[in-house]
């Protein structure tokens, strides 16, 4: 088992800020921190098996994402006074360096780096992954468009709920749920995963740990996530993820699922 770390996992696992103010401890933890950090820490216990891989692409992207987030934060807050801007600069310096410390820890102490043939990777991205994904996403939808039963048509609340349930139960026939065409950054990581999994055909399974729905199975939702009335059915649509497994050999999963699979594998 090998696990390639995707940018979202490396960044999310780097944001855990602890500080004291007036003797009270305060924490800032990224929403995905606990499961991303758990993946690194659990695999670190078995570091001699060299299972976790962070590529240079992912490391650079993660650093850039943190830096850009800090710059954009200062731009948006737009503090005018010199004293205020000084304090803001000190704050960003502390936050950024603390996040980078954790990122460096994952890169230096919890993972390995394998050589990547850049020209081969780019060739796989441009001639295999991108055309494959372009074809696939034509058959997908981002979410199921809710077809509300208008109140004036069905006035009874119970009946409207019953119709809604019928709609939910018929979801699998309504289309494949997927986030949409991945950007170049994601396509490059997919190409790196393909290249590394092909170079190690003896490896029983090659995973990509990601919090991004471009990689992992997508939750089935009714309505846009921007909508207050969005409904998650609790199901996961893994159609595109499975197609990627079949075509390119890497299995993308959420970090907590990979940890579970790993723990089960060492128990057996």
């Amino acid at each position: 088992m090998k696990v390639l770390i995707e940018t979202s996992v490396l960044v999310s696992g780097s944001i855990c800020w602890e500080y004291k103010i007036r003797n009270a401890s305060k924490y800032l933890v990224h929403k995905f921190f606990s499961k991303c950090n758990a993946l690194f820490e659990i695999f670190k216990q078995y570091s001699e098996q060299k299972k976790v891989i962070i590529t240079k692409t992912v490391e650079n992207e993660a650093r850039n994402a943190l830096k850009k987030a800090v710059i954009n934060t200062m731009k948006e807050r737009n503090i005018r006074s010199l004293r205020g801007r000084y304090k803001e600069m000190v704050l960003q310096h502390l936050v950024l360096n603390d996040s980078l410390d954790r990122l460096d820890y994952y890169v230096e102490e919890c993972s390995i780096r394998l050589p990547i043939d850049i020209s081969k990777r780019d060739e796989i991205r441009d001639t295999e992954i991108e055309p494959f994904m372009k074809k696939k996403v034509k058959q997908t939808i981002r979410y199921i468009q809710p077809r509300r039963v208008p109140r004036k048509v069905v006035t009874d609340w119970g009946l409207r709920e019953e119709i809604k349930d019928i709609m939910l139960n018929s979801l699998p026939e309504k289309g494949v749920i997927y986030k949409g065409m991945p950007g170049e950054r994601d396509l490059t990581i997919m190409a790196e995963a393909t290249l590394l999994s092909r170079e190690d055909p003896d490896e029983d399974s090659f995973y990509v740990a990601s919090c991004d729905n471009h990689f992992k199975p997508n939750p089935v939702q009714i309505g846009s996530y921007f909508s207050e009335n969005v409904i998650y059915t609790g199901e996961l649509d893994s159609t595109i993820r499975d197609a990627l497994v079949e075509e390119f050999g890497f299995i993308s999963e959420a970090p907590n699922v990979i940890v579970q699979i790993f723990q089960e594998s060492i128990q057996t």
Partner: protein
């Protein structure tokens, strides 16, 4: 005009003397004050420089802050070591840090000489190396102390952090994924 690299060459000689004589001369440590003061003033000058982009300001400010904080901690730790008559292990450690400061100083001097930064990425890299090395060797203050010293208020910190979290999510395009998560933010 004070040049950081020249000053740290002199400090290197000073520390070398402490190591050779196995004695830290506390009176000579006042020499570090001019650098601490200058680097603190320069941090404000950088923020007032309208010709620099925010990205450049951030990097140069960070580099100057690393110089000032490391030098301040050097002075404090060397004074403590002198008071207990320590065989100058602290001076040896501080001496080892000088090349890391020098790597940053060269770029800062170049910026003040030519009013433009030669290689921002390199400065960022050397500044980060200095930060890490100083932290590892115990020449940096913890986050809570720095927050207290700079008088950062709770609303300012939480406001910054909330915006930062939002921007990280935007950078990674994870808005949709966050919506489906049940984990709560602390």
């Amino acid at each position: 005009m004070l040049r950081y690299s020249d000053e740290f060459n002199k400090i290197e000689t000073l520390f070398s003397g402490f190591i050779d004589t196995k004695k830290i001369d506390e009176s000579k440590l006042q020499y570090l004050d001019s650098i601490i003061k200058r680097s603190n003033t320069d941090q404000l000058h950088i923020l007032n420089n309208a010709y620099l982009s925010l990205d450049e300001q951030t990097t140069i400010f960070g580099a100057l802050r690393n110089i000032s904080q490391t030098t301040l901690l050097m002075k404090e730790r060397l004074i403590s070591a002198s008071k207990i008559g320590e065989n100058p292990t602290t001076a040896e450690i501080a001496f080892d840090l000088i090349p890391f400061i020098q790597n940053v100083s060269i770029y800062i001097d170049d910026f003040f000489d030519n009013k433009e930064i030669y290689n921002l990425e390199k400065l960022e890299m050397f500044s980060r190396n200095l930060y890490k090395k100083a932290k590892k060797l115990g020449f940096s203050k913890d986050i809570s102390s720095q927050i207290q010293e700079e008088g950062l208020s709770e609303p300012q910190i939480s406001g910054f952090i909330e915006k930062f979290s939002e921007n990280v999510i935007n950078e990674l395009e994870l808005g949709e994924e966050i919506g489906t998560e049940n984990e709560s933010i602390n």
